[in-house]
């Protein structure tokens, strides 16, 4: 418990889902979150299992996922499911990338807290994550 | 052997618009294809056009309309031709005419409507196809 009190910033785990090669968006977000005073653990491409394990191990406040390949409908809900299995469903999951509008309600239903499509601004993302982290 | 009579076509520009590039190009193309072409010039009323057709004894009339007045002018033309007993005259048109209107005009007896991008050879072939068969 003490650890939580001295903790300076919000801890965010950022991962790219599956094998998606698009790098730029998640890196830019990583930079921005760090500049906004958060601690960022960036693990690159990972599958849901590794993402959830790292999240628990690193005791993060939020998980940010990036996917531009179209695999989000399979893998993002999988992350939430595995969090639930481990009893750590309080860690919110946020997704960024190429998400068609029709997929958004389905992903929200599956437990994704926030979705950021192409053209989202860093400011919106930072604000959203800060608000989530403060809860 | 009797020499074949040349096809005579009246090209006319009814209504108010002055876009005569298309009709002049067609006029030259028909002439180069061996037809006799009478070009009416601008701003002709349907009455004037039908009178010219009658006087010149043409085989067909081509109307160019880019102003959007085709739905008014064609029906008038067709009615006048009928009145004068010229219903069997070939009438065709060209200009900015949407597909839906094209269909409607054809059911009124307009032979063919040519729109932007038409190859003039298609117009020549069409006219010859209709008139040389007769």
């Amino acid at each position: 418990m003490e650890k939580r009190i001295v903790k300076k910033g919000i801890r965010v785990l950022l991962a790219r889902l599956g094998l998606d090669a698009h790098w730029r968006g998640s890196i830019v977000v990583a930079h921005a979150l760090r500049d906004a005073g958060m601690e960022v653990i960036y693990i690159g491409n990972q599958m849901p299992k590794e993402i959830v394990e790292t999240a628990i191990q690193e005791d993060v406040d939020i998980i940010g996922l990036s996917s531009l390949s179209g695999n989000h409908m399979i893998l993002a809900p999988e992350v939430v499911k595995r969090l639930r299995e481990k009893g750590t469903q309080e860690i919110p999951v946020v997704l960024g990338g190429t998400v068609p509008p029709d997929d958004i309600p389905i992903l929200k239903e599956a437990g994704i807290s926030g979705i950021f499509g192409p053209g989202s601004s860093l400011k919106e993302i930072i604000q959203f994550i800060s608000a989530l982290g403060k809860k | 052997m009797q020499e074949k009579r040349k096809i005579r076509i009246l090209l006319a520009k009814p209504g108010l618009d002055g876009h005569d590039r298309g009709i002049k190009v067609v006029a030259r193309a028909l002439r180069d294809a061996g037809m006799e072409v009478i070009y009416s010039g601008l701003h002709q009323t349907p009455e004037q056009i039908v009178n010219t057709a009658l006087q010149e004894g043409v085989d067909g009339i081509g109307l160019s309309i880019l102003s959007g007045a085709h739905n008014t002018i064609f029906p008038k033309m067709m009615a006048l031709l009928k009145e004068k007993g010229l219903s069997d005259l070939l009438v065709f048109g060209g200009g900015t005419i949407p597909p839906k209107d094209r269909e409607r005009l054809k059911t009124m007896g307009v032979g063919e409507i040519f729109t932007s991008g038409t190859d003039t050879r298609d117009i020549v072939n069409y006219i010859k196809g209709v008139l040389e068969k007769v």
């Binding site: - | 108010l16 601008l42 739905n71 597909p99 991008g117």
Partner: protein
Amino acid sequence: MAFGKRSKRQDLDLQSSPMAFKNLSGFVIDPVYGTENIAQLDVERDLGGPGEFPFTRGIHKTMYRGRLWTIRQLGSLGSSGEANMRIRNLLAMGATGVSICLDMPTIMGRDSDDPLCEGEVGSSGGVAIDSIADVRQLMDGIDLDQVSINWVCNAQSCVILAFFVAVAEERGISADKLAGTLQNDILKEYQAQKSYYFPPRSSMRLTVDTIKYCCRHMPRFNPISISGYHLASAGANPIQELAFTLANGFTYVEETIKAGVDVDQFAPRLSFFFKVHNDFFENIAKFRAARRIWARAMKEKYRAKDDRSWLFRVHTQTAGSSLTAQQPENNIIRTTLQALSAVLAGTQSLHTNAFDEAHSIPSARSEKLALRTQQIIAHESGVIHTVDPLGGSYYLESLTNKMEEESYRYFEKIEQLGGVLKGIEKGFFQREIADSAYQYQKDIENKRRIIVGLNEYREDGEEPIEMRETDPTFETRKIAELKAFKSQRNQQRVSARIEQIREVARGDGDFMPLFIEAVKDGLTLGEIIGAMRDVFGEYREEAIF
């Protein structure tokens, strides 16, 4: 230099392409241009700095570093109420100027209730203007002293201007605050566009009348936009467009000087209107040559002293005639490239066509995309960061020189004919243009000129695109409105005004002040034009093709 010889590889040219390496004006293009092609170019004499004589590199010192070009889109639709909505919408989306087109009856100087106009009221995507009431509605809620309005009117310009000034005065805005342009170029009507009523010399008198009025009372307003665009639409190739437009310009200068106005009083308000077609570099060379020729002529021939009199200020529109009805999305690409060439050429104002224009009046969606195209070039491409970025290019400089030379050749020919008005009467321009139009069509049909989706890569069974429908009840409503308007006028004053107009027409007095008063009394466009027609008579050209 031996290089010139080495470059003549005609055998290879023919193998690779069915087209010869020529531009739209028919100039033969060399494989590569180098210093020797512009050996005669004297940078100081022929280029100058931006904003410096002879203005080849641009008429303003800062050009787009100082101010972007005016993004001017078309805001007109059948009724003045609808057009008003569209104008407001365009301004809200970031357009910085609007053009207003008229419907066919207005263009022909007739009111909506004229029997000759049946079926054409609100046609061609233009606004139907009969009376001051229409312009009042059209301008409702628009800041007349802020927005620059381009009135695409010609033979009827004097009446439209009267409506505009009268409406502004009603709203407490004096004429000297109004910005904008009248097209008012009657010469090109006889040469190409063919919307005229009176014999050329009477029409010229009206044009000069409006120029005089604007010089005295409307310092921010361009009384004329000397238009090559329509010459090109009717078929003129770029060199004809350039030469004929400038020749027309010189004619207006001469006629206005003849009417007793000092050249420096009106020349700064003359403006031009060009088309940009498919040939990218030829477009750019055309503008640069135009600036240089105009500046030299104004300074050296017409002895203008004010440096603003030397400036060739130009509005540009992308080529409607280059658009295809087939595969309309392809037109977005053409328009983008044409718009880019206009910007590289240093235009003052630009209109980009909507991609569905070959089919119908632009839909709201296609209109927005056309506007965005300009904004993307302005804000994203970075081409606006320096003035005349292509200046010095061997190819472009050489092409600019060539266009200038060829223009002088045309000027000589026109001179020999006895000037532009004589040339019109002899059908010279009409024939030149018709020749080029026919040549263009033949080039397309035998594939010497390729248009994608039209004579190459054509597809059958295309899905038609959505098109804007015109409202079939509009005509009846408009006629009813006009009837109501007429019934409220003081009929005696109307008749008196008509007689006054006939009187001035018979003499040589000024029209504009009278027109402004007349439209305030409710005279319609058709009545004013009609009154003049009684005196001037009607002009009919011989139907040649």
